[in-house]
Every structure is written in C-alpha cells, then in structure tokens.
Symmetry: D2
Subunit: 175 residues, 4 copies
Amino acid sequence: MIISVAAHSEEPSREIAEKARSFVRKVSPCNPTLLLGGYWGLMKTVVDEAIKQGLTVVLILPIERENIDLPAQVIPIRSGCEFRCRSVILVRSGDVLVSLGGGVGTEIEIMLAYAMGKPIYAITETGLSTDHFARAFPEYIDDRRVVKIRYFNDPGEVAEEICRGNMKSVETRFG
Amino acid sequence: MIISVAAHSEEPSREIAEKARSFVRKVSPCNPTLLLGGYWGLMKTVVDEAIKQGLTVVLILPIERENIDLPAQVIPIRSGCEFRCRSVILVRSGDVLVSLGGGVGTEIEIMLAYAMGKPIYAITETGLSTDHFARAFPEYIDDRRVVKIRYFNDPGEVAEEICRGNMKSVETRFG
Amino acid sequence: MIISVAAHSEEPSREIAEKARSFVRKVSPCNPTLLLGGYWGLMKTVVDEAIKQGLTVVLILPIERENIDLPAQVIPIRSGCEFRCRSVILVRSGDVLVSLGGGVGTEIEIMLAYAMGKPIYAITETGLSTDHFARAFPEYIDDRRVVKIRYFNDPGEVAEEICRGNMKSVETRFG
Amino acid sequence: MIISVAAHSEEPSREIAEKARSFVRKVSPCNPTLLLGGYWGLMKTVVDEAIKQGLTVVLILPIERENIDLPAQVIPIRSGCEFRCRSVILVRSGDVLVSLGGGVGTEIEIMLAYAMGKPIYAITETGLSTDHFARAFPEYIDDRRVVKIRYFNDPGEVAEEICRGNMKSVETRFG
C-alpha cells in the first residue's frame, strides 16, 4: 500500500509534530510505502520517523528544491516541475491521501485527491489552516460528492482505518 | 494581458452562461488573451463568446481530452498531462485568474493561483459549488495571507477592475 | 495550422539566422501559428521575424527561464517544468515539427516528434550538430519506421511543402 | 545510488534478455535502486530479475499505461503525463543512466541524460536500433561535449564501473 502524505512545508509546533510521528508509528505495522513532497517542515518530521520505523519512503521533489540534502534511506524522485505540479504526481501515485495538517499546499493536495477519487483521511485540531478547511468542507468538496473526506482528531484512528485496508478509489472523468 | 479563466466543466445554467458571456464582452475592450482549460461545459460558453468578440484564445488541453473538435480560431496547447496538471500550466501562465464558477476543478484553480501569488477575481452567486468556497474563504486561503481573493457578483465589475490593470502578482517560494 | 519550431538555443551564425528568417517569410502566406520553446538563440531570430510577418507566436517556456523579457506580441505559456519537459509540450502541440538546426535540444525535439508520429521537416547544412544527426538518421530513427524525416537544404522548399498541407500525423502507442 | 534504466518497450530476444538480466545480477552487490519506465518489454525482464535479486525498484509510469498489473514488490509512481514526459522524470531522477538497448524511446532517454549532464552507460550489440545510435554518436551528441557516452558490449563491465562509483554529473544550463 502506498500512502501519499500531505503535510505542512513549515516548521511544526511540538504538538503537531508529535501527532504526525504518532501516525507514522501506528501505521508502521501494516508496512506502507510513504510518499511525501519534500524533506522540510512537517514533511521532514514524518520522513525522519518513517526512517526510524524502517518504512520505505519516496519523495516527489519539486524542481525548486530538488537538490536538498536527504537521508540515504529515502528515494528521491525529481519531478522536474514546480511545487503544485509535483503535488499532482504525489497525490496520483498514492492509494490514499493522509493530511497531517498544513496550509494552502496541503489543502490543494486534499482537493487533488478528491478530484481523483482517492480516499482521504485528514487530521484536525492541528492549529493549522487545514482546521478551517475541515470546517468548510465537513464531507464533500463539491456537489459531485466524489469521496467523503474522513476527519479524525486521533492519528491512531487514521492508522487503524488505513491498515484495515477497506477503502477504495472512485474513478473520475471530469476536469 | 493574459487572463486565465477557471470555469465549470459541466453544462451551465442559462443564468451563469449569461454572466460568463457578459464578462467576456465587458473585458474585450482591453483586448486580453484568454487561457482556458478546454472546450466543454462553461468553458465552451466563454470560448465561443471570446471568438465572437475577436479575442485570442489559447486552450491548455488535458491529455484525457486533447483530441476534441475545436473552432479554427483557438490555439490548442496539448499539455500531455492529466486534468489537474494542465490546470497548473493554465494558472501559472496567466497574469490573473478569473473564476466564473464551478466545482472542485475550479476551486483547485483558485487555490493554485493563490499559492502562486496571482491576483484572483471570482464571480459569486452562480449556484455552483464555488459559492460555498467563497463563503469558506472570504479573503485568504491560509494564514500566509498571500493574496486576497476578490469576489464580485457583477461580472462587469471584474472586467472593469482587470482593464484598469493595477493588480500585481506576489512572488511565492513555499510548497 | 500549428508549426512547432525546433531551433538552437545559442547565438546563430549570420547564415543560419538568414535561413531561419527565410523559412518564416516563406511560410507566412499560409498563416500558421508558430510555437517555440523560448526567446533566445536562434529561437529569438525566428520569433522576431514571425512578429514582423504578423504571425501568431506562442512560446512554451521552461521554468528555468520563464521570466525573460518578451515582445508584447507573443503569447507566453509557462510550462512550470524543466527544459526537456517543455519540449514535450512544444512538440505534442504542433501539427508538424520544423527543425531549423541546433544541438541536443533540437535533436531531442526531432526524436520526440518521431515518437509521437508527427511530420518532421529538417533544415540541413546549418553547420550545427543537427547536420550530423541528419547523416545518422537519413530516413527513420528506429526500426518501427514511424515517420520518414524529410530533410531540405532550402528553407523555401520546407515552407512550400508545409503550405501545401498534405502531411499527416501517424498515431503511435508505444513508449 | 539510483540507476535509471532505459530499455526496450517491446519483447526482447533471448540474447538481449539474458544480457539485461546479467547486468542486474552483476550490479546487485552494490545495492542500487532501479528506476524504470514500465513493466513491459525488456523493462519487465529487468524488473523481474531485480525483484529476484532483492533490489528496490521504482517505476515511473506514463498515464497511457498507469493501470497495468504490477508485482507487489515494485513502487509505482504515476507521472500523470505521457510517455516522453515520464522519461524526463525517469532520467532526471537517476544518478546515472544505463541503456540496455531499445528503439526511439531508449534513444530519447540517452539524449535526455546527455542534456542533463548525467553519466551514461550503454550496452551495444543488442540487435536493436540503439546499436545504430551508438555508431552515430560514438562519444558526444552535440558540439557542447557535455558527457561522453560510454559503450560496452559486456553488461558486467558496466556493473563494475557503476559499482566503482566514481562517475559524476555535470551541471547543464542550456535548453
């Protein structure tokens, strides 16, 4: 299973960093591959914990930051394209999207996943802009009702749901 | 000036079609080039009116529908990539983004424009999902406060603002 | 008709610049839209002449040079992706590819056109690396024999052939 | 170390399949990650052998064939873009490119690697179109002389050279 992880590109608070690490620890037993869009901000927190847990980590890097230093264990894919374009590849490649909280970049990734019909799990009460997004779109993002976003305060519950493995993508054909 | 136009990929109501045509007519005097992402749904309405007004129209086509029949006057660019990836090129290429109303695809284009620091003008009271988006994000999309989205009920006012030409992009470096 | 033009990214000699301008002048009567990948080197020569002739010019810009100064008449599309990726969009969007001579970038564009089944017209005796390419691949690029590259010393003949308009793309499905 | 592998998209002969498997076996001791562009033709031969050797394999899939069945051990990245565009990502992401022989797709990948300044190792005497390419470009692809392509008949020698690990990319800035 491949999990695309949307996470803030800026330094996380201690609380949200801990929530993110907790998600990684709790999802580790079902041994997913994690896809992330970089190695900075909250994404770095996730990657570091995933390495500690021995998970396979693939980074889809935007051209703006494709030459950053990386831990030897991660597999960098250089998208050759800009921040939002790399998010398209990131989201499209996952079986599911998990949002750990962030700003507009993370919100875009949630919307991309919705438009592509991917199952979406989003952590709330992060203190980040995605909390507002969650209130704005408690279920669906548009009137097509493609997939219902599932919000959780507890990252352990997201891990549990994902490891149970009974979520499915919906085929979409609009755009 | 290049205006990226975000508009619904599905058949518009008579009212919203008229609002869209009105925008095109009123913006024509300053002779912008219009960029759109296809020739179906509300996008088709806009393209047809733009041709009638003699405007240059460029379409950034997604690979899923790159072979549709087109009027001879438009210039098709085949992005070679999927729906959302073509939206990245569409938004990035404009000096400004105008949303005429739509679903998640249009909402993604607004968010892309915000993340790229482009001026955004959005028509409200369309009866489409973007009306809800407008209520959810009355000003900014995240706490970076990159650009303030400007909402209008009257498409003529948007045209006027754009023709006045004093909007500016903000450089962004996050993602 | 849309002509994708592959041309050197470096300063041309007087001879090759003249050959390129001659092609533009002679193809002008059938009023094609020209697509190019930038506004530097031999590409700039072509764009300047095309503007003089009143042709519509669209540039597919790579992210590395998306902010260069451009004449007001051209329509810039910001691909958001790197040099070679923008070449894919450039070639895919044309009805035909014309090579006016260049280095590896131009050679890649010829190969992309071949792989996509586009008609290819290439100017030889330019003094550039594509002269060697022409000798290496006098007809086909691989044993699939997708499209036969047509080589010309005289740019006027290429213009004539193109304006006659009886070339067709071949559908390809490999890769 | 990440090795981008360019290989024919069509069924290989027994000889070339054996050469490809031999390369994989001999490069395994230095434990590279292999990147390929699909799971068909000669690429499938390489992937199957790499799995047998326990190597990590990442596939950069073109949108035309992103839904093919894959072995559980490989990590599929859905580029969301067409055949040649996925080749750009494939080549850009590798520390080095190895060509095991093929047609125009493989030749394009060699040219992309050259344009990006990547070290290139190419197997000759494959009976495929790349043999002709090797004769056409025995050293450099254009007069910039970016990187010297290194040709080998023996796949074991390529593996040895790569495992020795003293090849370096050259930074390029043209296009």
